[in-house]
């Protein structure tokens, strides 16, 4: 469908500006093309009681009316799912630190566990504990992050079993000198009482 352009009037000084090569050559084919609303071959429905223009108008209107009742355009409903019972002492999105310990055969490693919304995200040695060697267990954190299971059971229980497993893994990584490295990674404080 062509648009009818409102061109500015011809300038008074008698100069004629052409707007395209077609207008310059001014052939009968170009004149016919200029006057036809739709290109040749397009159905114009001229003989019927419906013209092409009327048909499109009606179809457009019916689509609009159908659109008012369209429900698929709504924003999908989403949910917020809080805990049923709150996790003790947590503030949403803030860290909560626990002092805990990993029991060893000879004693325990003092640790600080960082939790967010009840989930442990980081384990490190307790820097306030000065009697034994300071402990750093850096490799445990990615282990916790990778866990698919929600860690809502007691933090300590989970950590205990994982820590044991993880340290064994870490020790294997450090082969062949693993025994020496292991002692640097995690020195234990032995309770001799």
């Amino acid at each position: 469908m062509k648009r009818v352009f409102q061109h500015p009037p011809e300038p008074v000084n008698g100069k004629h500006y052409w707007r395209g090569l077609g207008e310059l050559s001014d052939t009968p084919e170009f004149r016919q093309w200029l006057e036809r609303e739709f290109p040749q071959g397009a159905a114009e429905l001229n003989g019927d009681e419906w013209s092409r223009r009327d048909f499109l108008k009606l179809m457009g209107a019916s689509m609009t009316l159908a659109g008012i009742g369209l429900t698929s355009c709504r924003r999908p409903e989403m949910h917020l799912v809080p805990f049923t019972k709150s996790v003790e002492w947590t503030i949403p999105g803030k860290f909560l630190y626990y002092a805990t310990a990993m029991p060893r055969r000879t004693g325990a490693i003092p640790l600080i566990a960082t939790t967010v919304d009840g989930r442990p995200i980081k384990l490190e040695g307790n820097p306030l504990f000065t009697r034994g060697k300071r402990v750093i267990v850096p490799t445990l954190t990615p282990m916790l992050e990778r866990s698919a299971k929600p860690l809502l059971i007691s933090t300590e229980t989970v950590l205990r079993s994982w820590l044991a497993k993880r340290i064994r893994l870490r020790a294997n990584d450090c082969a062949p000198n693993w025994k020496k490295l292991f002692r640097v990674c995690a020195g234990a404080f032995t309770n001799r009482s």
């Binding site: 409903e77 989403m78 949910h79 917020l80 799912v81 809080p82 805990f83 049923t84 019972k85 709150s86 503030i91 949403p92 999105g93 803030k94």
Partner: protein, 179 residues
């Protein structure tokens, strides 16, 4: 009922928490305990499955919004959530578009209120007693008129006072929120 009974961490955390079933059941074991509308709450308490609260005010992921930062600096819940205390069913009252955020970030004086009225959703600027207000917060710079003799103060007068008093300069750069 104060907003903070259920949304208890709004003053401390970035998110305003949705209450857990435990919080609902603090009262609803005794109040309205047979109301059929509260059946989902009772079911949740019984089974331990959480309640699916419909998420009305959704902030897109690429926007950082901190509730505590706003609420602690005199922006009321009302400014963003509208008259929630008069809504039979909660709806989104304000557009929550970026232009709308900037309206306040550019002119916070139109929205600031005394910090003890932040959770009062029915607060009007006319509620402020000028003499008490001026004694507590002072006046903006360059105002010679004695406001304490006035009957009422307008929102922009209250806001301007608080803005200068608390030195409020909301970020207007992109990375203030899109970080």
């Amino acid at each position: 009922m104060d907003c903070r009974y259920c949304h208890s961490f709004v003053e401390m955390a970035a998110q305003s928490n949705v209450p857990n079933t435990q919080t609902c059941m603090n009262c609803h074991t005794q109040v309205q305990k047979d109301n059929p509308k509260l059946e989902p709450v009772r079911a949740s308490w019984k089974t331990g499955d959480p309640i699916d609260w419909v998420w009305i005010h959704r902030t897109v992921d690429y926007v950082y919004y901190n509730h505590a930062a706003h609420v602690n600096r005199g922006i009321s819940c009302f400014s963003c959530h509208g008259p929630v205390n008069h809504m039979p069913v909660v709806y989104q009252a304000k557009p929550h578009s970026m232009g709308w955020c900037l309206e306040c970030h550019r002119h916070p004086e139109n929205f600031l209120r005394p910090e003890d009225q932040v959770f009062n959703l029915d607060w009007k600027p006319d509620d402020v007693k000028p003499a008490e207000f001026v004694a507590k917060y002072g006046k903006p710079q360059g105002v010679t008129e004695d406001w304490s003799k006035r009957k009422t103060l307008s929102q922009s007068e209250i806001g301007q006072t608080l803005k200068e008093r608390w030195n409020i300069t909301p970020p207007q750069n992109c990375q203030g929120c899109h970080r």
